[in-house]
């Protein structure tokens, strides 16, 4: 599973990345995490509300920072 966190460095984007890493550690799910800050790439996914989460090239969430529990549900389901 490849996970991309889309965002350009504001506090929310950082929180999403932190939450993702936390959940990956606690669930043991094996995934590569990449932070995408280039606007061209972000818009390439059709996203205009950051932060956004992309799992295996599908945008699963945009515009907010989910709680670790919600993230876990999202990632397990992906």
């Amino acid at each position: 599973m490849t996970i991309k966190v889309l965002g350009s460095g504001c506090a929310n984007c950082q929180r999403l990345e932190n939450n993702v890493r936390l959940v990956l550690k606690s669930t043991g799910i094996d995934a590569a995490v990449e932070k995408v800050t280039d606007y061209g790439a972000i818009l390439g996914y059709g996203v205009s509300s950051t932060p956004a989460l992309v799992v295996d090239e599908q945008v699963v969430l945009a515009g907010r920072v989910p709680s670790p529990q919600q993230l876990e549900t999202l990632l397990r389901g992906a």
Binding site: C10, G40, S49, V59, G63, Q70
Partner: protein, 350 residues
């Protein structure tokens, strides 16, 4: 066909009526007892004599902090839940290809209700342009968003009543519409960074406002509440502290003498002072309340508040990524002029 929420995990499913009712009851109880509790605390427990400056200032500080935190909690929660029905993606779909006039009005209205974190300003702006939203309409959205701050709106209503709150809303909207139309006419596209027009909006847009259950909306409300309070408490304390100092030590009608409604310089000075300052709306309101209580005219007070909250250096820095300095200068000038006009209007009307 709508997916039934029962299919989701029960904890996040239907409307959390019990929890919300309980929370509301606690809130009302706290709000009702705040007067007596702080009167007791300051004048009896701490033993400060009434009507001394120190006692007045301390009382104002404690009482106002408590009151404002309570109000903020309610407002932020309610507004976040309401806003969860809107999103930049949905707004973009609504505005795409619209012409001026109606487009500007719709954009201004949406600018007020669409949740919009300033770090999203760049992707949102680019997204709008890519979706065929005219520059003037996009600017109406960008101007309305900070001009009508929902926290300020509700607090103005709480402090000064319906009339003031309504005029604040109306003037912000009208300014956003007119400014957007004027700027649209000036054909300032050449002052937008070129890459904005070259970026292609790919993929299938996901709309964050759809597919949310009530449980999730409430959860967002609570999280937003926690996040915002954690972020703004320094501004809040400084604003309330200044308000308390003014409340306790500045003579009554001080401002009436030096910056009353008859003095035409008051509004421009207020705006000029406000532009370089930045505060969250919640932090500035206690200061605004205290200033007005000491005789500062309503129009001047509002102009100051709007200048502080609507024009901020952090936002300008972010906008610099998509707008060239000249367009930013135009933006600041137009919004500043609008605030000036609002200040004079209020002073004349009230």
């Amino acid at each position: 066909m709508k997916v039934k929420t029962a299919a989701r995990a029960p904890a996040l499913g239907g409307f959390p009526a019990v929890r919300l009712t309980l929370a509301a009851a606690i809130w009302v109880a706290l709000y009702a007892v705040k007067g007596p509790v702080f009167d007791w605390l300051v004048y009896d427990a701490l033993g400060l004599a009434r009507s001394t400056r120190l006692a007045d200032a301390v009382h104002f500080f404690l009482f106002d902090t408590f009151k404002i935190v309570l109000l903020l909690a309610a407002i932020i929660f309610a507004v976040t839940v309401l806003r969860s029905f809107f999103s930049v993606e949905r707004t973009r779909a609504l505005l795409g290809g619209r012409r001026e006039g109606a487009g500007n009005a719709l954009a201004a209205g949406l600018g007020v209700v669409t949740p919009f974190c300033s770090c999203s300003a760049v992707p949102a702006f680019i997204g709008f342009v890519a979706a065929g939203v005219p520059l003037g309409v996009t600017l109406s959205f960008l101007i309305a968003s900070p001009m009508v701050n929902e926290i300020a709106l509700v607090m103005l209503f709480g402090l000064f009543g319906w009339g003031i709150a309504a005029i604040y809303l109306a003037s912000g909207l009208i300014l956003a519409v007119v400014a957007g139309m004027v700027l649209g006419r000036l054909h300032l596209e050449k002052y937008v960074e070129p890459f904005v027009f070259e970026t292609r909006l790919g993929g299938k847009a996901i709309d964050p406002s759809r597919q949310l259950t009530w449980g999730e909306r409430v959860q967002m409300g609570v999280e937003e509440l926690r996040t915002i309070l954690a972020k703004i408490w320094p501004y809040l304390l400084v604003g309330i502290g200044l308000g308390a100092a003014i409340h306790g030590w500045v003579p009554q009608s001080f401002f009436l003498r030096y910056a009353g409604p008859g003095n035409p310089l008051a509004v421009p000075v207020a705006v000029l002072l406000g532009i370089p300052l930045y505060s969250n709306a919640a932090g500035i309101l206690p200061l605004v309340e205290a200033l007005h209580a000491k005789g500062l005219a309503m129009g001047t007070t509002l102009a100051f508040m709007m200048a502080v909250t609507a024009l901020s250096l952090p936002e300008m820095i972010i906008l610099r990524r998509v707008l060239k300095p000249r367009l930013i200068g135009v933006y600041i000038t137009v919004v500043g002029a609008g605030i000036l006009a609002t200040g004079f209007l209020f002073n004349a009307l009230l």
